[in-house]
């Protein structure tokens, strides 16, 4: 019984962390069609922003939930103005440019913080379930992810800004003809995507030892989740995150963590063979 609960928590946590690391990419790649290979580095910078802020004496939750997304969002803004805006619609070129950016970011962060492992402790204590100890921070991550998904849904579906953004991503020429500036809208959307990546890095920072090259560990999973999710942004993210998270955790508990990772990748291969356009091209069609 206790074990069942612990496994359930780990399952939810795995799903949540997959969604968390993919949310920013879902906006930048899923919506804007920019293959952002620097996504992992945006996350890494979110982590460093949090650690720096905490070391300066700022409350860890403020640092994670407000400061890190803002800082990474602003970095994203600069990157968008200087590099990305010249490359919209040129899929392969964005890939090359953002790969270069990722190397630049790794280099810069190495210069500033040094190439050593840094980190902060988790702000939430573990607690006991029957005879088991559970990491209390897992619940915090699950809550953050629920909030992020609801927020994305609310903004995209409920606000005029979300509607305009979605419209611009589909037909920027029409949006332009209707009097909206696609340039501005792309800029704002990229800011939001970067901020989400920063948030993900920040929230995960207390769980890992952070090095400037940490971003590389997330990039593959983030792309798999977003691509397998398909055209619907939030639903796709949720669906593929749940599928992969549950799959890998099942095999992790049943066999070993390595097999869990393998299962995730094999699952992705099968899924994309059966549903090349992603889960939401067939199920939950038309949802956001």
């Amino acid at each position: 019984m206790d074990l069942g609960f612990v496994i359930l928590v780990e399952m939810f946590y795995a799903v949540a962390s997959l969604i968390l690391i993919s949310a920013g990419l879902a906006v930048v790649f899923g919506m804007m069609k920019v293959i952002n290979l620097a996504h992992g580095e945006f996350m890494m910078m979110g982590g460093y922003a949090t650690i720096t802020a905490v070391n300066l004496g700022i409350n860890v939750f403020v640092a994670m939930l407000i400061i890190a997304p803002l800082i990474v969002g602003l970095i994203g803004l600069v990157v968008e103005r200087l590099v990305i805006r010249h490359l919209y619609g040129r899929l392969v070129d964005t890939m090359l440019a953002t790969w270069g950016l990722s190397l630049v970011f790794i280099g810069l962060v190495t210069m500033i913080f040094g190439n050593t492992t840094t980190g902060i402790s988790t702000p939430i204590k573990g607690f006991t379930v029957g005879s088991y100890q559970v990491n209390g921070y897992n619940f915090f991550i699950i809550l953050v992810v629920i909030a992020v998904l609801l927020l994305m849904l609310a903004v995209l579906k409920g606000t005029r800004a979300g509607l305009i953004a979605r419209g611009t991503m589909q037909r920027s020429d029409m949006a332009n003809a209707l009097g909206y500036s696609p340039d501005r809208i792309y800029m704002a959307t990229f800011f939001c995507g970067s901020a989400l990546s920063g948030l993900a890095g920040a929230v995960l920072a207390p769980l890992v030892g952070l090095v400037p090259t940490s971003g590389g560990a997330y990039i593959a999973k983030a792309f798999i989740t977003v691509i397998a999710g398909g055209p619907s942004l939030v639903t796709g993210l949720f669906a593929s995150g749940t599928f992969f998270g549950a799959l890998s955790q099942f095999f992790t508990f049943a066999i070993s963590p390595v097999i869990g990772e393998v299962a995730l990748l094999i699952g992705a291969v099968f899924l994309l063979r059966l549903l090349p356009q992603g889960i939401t091209s067939k199920f939950f069609k038309g949802k956001l």
């Binding site: 840094t118 980190g119 939430i124």
Partner: protein, 407 residues
């Protein structure tokens, strides 16, 4: 000697090229070339950077004292960027292009095996100065890191004595972790314990949530973790975050060799049991003097760690060998090193074991306390008996195997 047009042109071109690209190069024969091959960037740089600093400190001290055989020692260093593929490339470059007189380096066991055969084929003496899983039997290599018999054999009974008989092992998934896990199993069984769980993790795994739940299902008395690199450090953090640290004691064969205990907070690190050759907290005249020299060269002595000291002692051992041999000749050097040569390093006396080319050295049982390693017990001059039991280079000089332990 006749100079035809072709040799003249070739020679001039080579000279010009050399002068253009390497303005400080001196003519061959004026210096002794020491090749160094380490990960000074990337995920393993926490190990490699201080090792590089230690090597350079040792070389500058040798040079300041007049060099070796009246020549200065010149460093040829390559950064392998934590990429195993670069080891074979730079290994070739060091031996065939730079034609160095000795190579020090390699960090992960995978990297050692990537270059060991190149060194052997080109007759370049190779010093691997890192604690490792033991068993390498090759006359061309000298190893001064602690092996399982020196480390695990001491650590396991101590840790089990403080906890209990049921042990769970979490190891890195490559040759080091795989072989270490078997050594741990052997010593746990010899001490009347049992292994209740064993998991291997690729080097980039950073999420240990499910593993921590699994460990609790197995309910061990002790967890031993030969985990490697920055990503695996997350385990110790997540273990503490889940509140497990005060419930099940932890021991590790690698934690702290790259100063990981200084990254963890005291709450996360305190109480982890380890056993190494070196600790910054060793209060000996040799270590205090070493820390002062290091601080004079690099500002402060915080970055010194086990592997850095091993690398420093490796360079000293080689230098002493060259001095006693009176030449750079490989056979003369090996004969000198095999004569039971020893040096006094920051971590005490280190003697080359002639039969195995491993080291006889002091091992300290320690516990992490407030980001330092508190010495609990010192085990003086331990022999590498694991490798000695399978390897005898004086009887069998052509051996070229890494013996693995059978259970």
């Amino acid at each position: 000697m006749t100079v035809n047009r072709r040799t003249f042109l070739g020679g001039t071109a080579a000279l010009t090229a050399t002068a253009a690209f390497l303005p400080t190069v001196t003519l061959a024969g004026d210096t002794i070339k020491l090749g160094s091959i380490l990960d000074t960037s990337g995920v393993f740089d926490a190990y490699g950077k201080p090792m590089d600093m230690a090597m350079r400190l040792a070389v500058s001290e040798i040079n300041a004292a007049g060099g070796l055989l009246g020549k200065q020692v010149e460093v040829k260093a390559y950064d392998t960027q934590s990429d195993m593929a670069l080891y074979s490339q730079y290994g070739q470059q060091l031996t065939r292009q730079d034609e160095v007189d000795v190579v020090h380096g390699g960090i992960l066991s995978a990297s050692r095996e990537a270059i060991r055969q190149t060194m052997r084929k080109t007759n370049t003496p190779y010093f691997y100065n890192v604690l490792y899983e033991g068993g390498v039997c090759d006359r061309n290599i000298f190893i001064n890191g602690v092996t399982p018999a020196q480390q695990v054999e001491a650590l396991v009974p101590y840790a089990m004595g403080k906890s209990g008989k049921k042990v769970y092992v979490l190891a890195a998934d490559y040759n080091y972790g795989q072989i270490m896990a078997r050594w741990i199993e052997k010593f746990v069984k010899e001490n009347g314990g049992e292994i209740v769980g064993l998991d291997f993790f690729p080097l980039d795994v950073a999420d240990f949530g499910s593993t921590i739940a699994k460990i609790q299902t197995a309910a061990p008395d002790l967890v031993i973790a030969p985990l490697v690199g920055g990503a695996h450090l997350s385990f110790f953090r997540q273990w503490a975050a889940a509140g497990m640290k005060d419930r099940i004691p932890l021991a590790s064969t690698t934690m702290g060799v790259g100063n990981e205990h200084k990254v963890l907070t005291p709450e996360e690190g305190n109480g982890i049991m380890v056993a190494y050759n070196y600790s910054q907290e060793l209060d000996t005249p040799a270590n205090n003097a070493f820390k002062e020299r290091w601080a004079a060269a690099y500002g402060d002595s915080n970055s010194i760690h086990e592997l850095a000291v091993s690398n420093y002692q490796g360079v000293l051992t080689w230098a002493e060998g060259v001095r006693q041999a009176g030449s750079l000749d490989r056979e003369a050097l090996f004969t000198a090193l095999e004569s039971g040569l020893s040096i006094d390093g920051p971590a005490g006396k280190v003697t080359v074991d002639p039969k195995t080319h491993h080291a006889i050295l002091d091992v300290h049982l320690m516990e992490i306390e407030n980001q330092g390693m508190k010495v609990i017990e010192t085990l003086p001059q331990r022999q590498p008996v694991d490798t000695q039991s399978v390897c005898d280079l004086s009887a069998n000089p052509d051996d070229n195997t890494q013996y693995e332990i059978d259970i």
